[in-house]
């Protein structure tokens, strides 16, 4: 059901209809809440529509073991979540989790990665599967790997999915289960009186609710202070190249190159600090393409059909913020990079926390106080 009347109230309002807001909303609906999801419009900055689609475990949390833990928890919850989306909406989001490789093009890079993963493995008391492969072993996965590949790290828990189908499946399920989706422009004001939040949008539509979840990606920076929270998120641009469809030849995802269920090859892993600019540059696209060609020389004959830039939602340390406001109880902030990977965790345990107030003390490390202490 879409809403356009002027005043509305529901148990819970979620601000931001990207993959983070939708996953939380689905989890709240599952807990019996009635949920209104406010999402601005297509001019918004929307990482959920421009990402790479990896459900990625290896390397996540090298400086924060609890982040490695929730990442792996999410990876384990992914299959049942994807099955549920498929059963309810008929949309197969092309989830595949049979392991992934991170290809390296120099000995130094490979050694640094191995050292980093070894550190995470030790922090996890050895319960952290990965291995380091030389070129011959890489070619058992990818006979097409080029001679400049020095090796790779392999993690059996890595995977990928189609991020646009994921977004669509969640939206359909949200509507099917009675969620209300609202496009009334940006939320511009957010106030609490007693236990009631009043939310006003650009179009002057007003919403009332008892709980509000900020899941507005980069928009959280402006919204958070309205309810005593702090969201120091910054944009970080990634450029992505997309090819014509070719018959499947990459049977595993890598950190830089993957092939979708339809046969498209998606390439990219650039990281640039360029403010709110979502464009592409020839220089960076050339770099991405040349790196990918070293990994898979077979790509030289592949035609690219489009490219885009999209902005990551990055906290200063790259880790999520999960927090309830102290000054405005009932207001929650949920924001992260790697919202695809963490999707099943958000829909499950994190939404359960917001619905039932059972915060896992282990998640205290995701409090934004860490940036001000």
């Amino acid at each position: 059901m879409y809403i356009s009347e002027n005043q509305k109230s529901s148990d819970t309002c979620v601000i931001g209809g990207g993959i983070v807001g939708l996953a939380i909303s689905l989890g709240l609906l599952r807990n019996g809440h009635n949920v209104t999801l406010l999402d601005e419009n297509d001019n918004g900055l929307r990482a959920s529509r421009g990402n790479f689609g990896l459900v990625w475990v290896q390397g996540k949390g090298d400086t924060l073991p609890q982040y490695a833990t929730i990442t792996r928890q999410s990876a384990k919850l992914w299959k049942p979540f994807a099955d549920h989306l498929n059963a309810e909406t008929g949309i197969d989001i092309q989830l595949e989790q049979k392991g992934g490789l991170y290809l390296c093009l120099s000995e130094d890079e490979l050694q640094a990665r191995q050292a980093m993963l070894t550190k995470i493995q030790q922090a996890a008391k050895n319960d952290y599967p990965f291995s380091t492969l030389d070129l011959a072993q890489v070619r058992e996965f990818f006979p097409e790997a080029g001679p400049e590949v020095t090796g790779a790290t392999w993690c059996p828990e890595d995977g990928h999915l189609n991020p646009l189908l994921y977004l669509r499946a969640m939206t359909e399920l949200f509507l099917k289960h009675g969620g209300k989706l609202v496009h009334q422009g940006q939320v511009i004001s957010l106030k609490q009186q007693d236990k009631d939040f009043t939310i006003t949008t650009q179009n002057n539509t007003v919403f009332h609710c008892g709980k509000v979840i900020l899941a507005a990606g980069l928009g959280n920076q402006r919204l958070a202070p309205m309810v005593g929270l702090n969201a120091p998120v910054q944009p970080n641009r990634g450029q992505v190249l997309v090819s014509e469809r070719v018959r499947n030849f990459l049977h595993y995802p890598t950190g830089h190159v993957r092939q979708t269920g339809e046969g498209t090859v998606q390439i990219g892993d650039s990281k640039e600090d360029v403010g709110l600019n979502q464009g592409t540059t020839l220089e960076t696209m050339a770099l991405i393409a040349s790196r990918a060609r070293k990994m898979f020389p077979i790509l030289k004959d592949l035609r690219l059909v489009r490219a885009w830039g999209a902005l990551r939602v990055m906290t200063p340390d790259g880790y999520p913020i999960y927090q309830q406001s102290l000054s405005n109880p009932g207001a929650y902030l949920v924001t992260c990079h790697s919202g695809v990977t963490l999707g099943a965790f958000h829909q499950g345990p994190l939404a359960d926390w917001i619905a039932n107030n059972d915060f896992d003390p282990a998640w205290e490390v995701f409090n934004a106080n860490r940036f001000t202490l």
Partner: protein, 108 residues
């Protein structure tokens, strides 16, 4: 020659027609035609089948953006018919599903 096509050629000053083959069938076309125009005029109802569902597709935008007009030309797959000019004796074939990129495996 145009047979059962839904399309008619505008009155133009015609040049001498040249032959191309579409799925082995020879047809005569104007030397400035695009491959997509040649296909539409020939009355052949599709130029490709899609990679996933195998549905039929015909040229759509005629200006290089939709990728619905993919064909095989002289053995090369996934060529945009609307962006390619005909040449005498061109061998044009239906694109069936996704292209195979050639495995040239000479690991050194």
């Amino acid at each position: 020659m145009p047979t059962d096509s839904h399309f008619n050629r505008q009155a133009i000053r015609e040049s001498s027609p040249i032959p191309v083959t579409i799925n082995g069938q020879t047809i005569m076309v104007q030397p400035n035609d695009s491959v997509a125009a040649a296909i539409l005029l020939s009355g052949i109802e599709m130029n490709r089948r899609t990679p996933i569902s195998g549905k039929k597709r015909a040229p759509y935008c005629m200006m290089g953006v939709c990728f619905d007009c993919l064909v095989q030309i002289n053995g090369k797959e996934n060529i945009q018919a609307c962006m390619t000019k005909v040449e005498a004796n061109m061998d044009i074939r239906t694109q069936n599903g996704a292209r195979l990129i050639h495995h040239d495996l000479n690991p050194s």
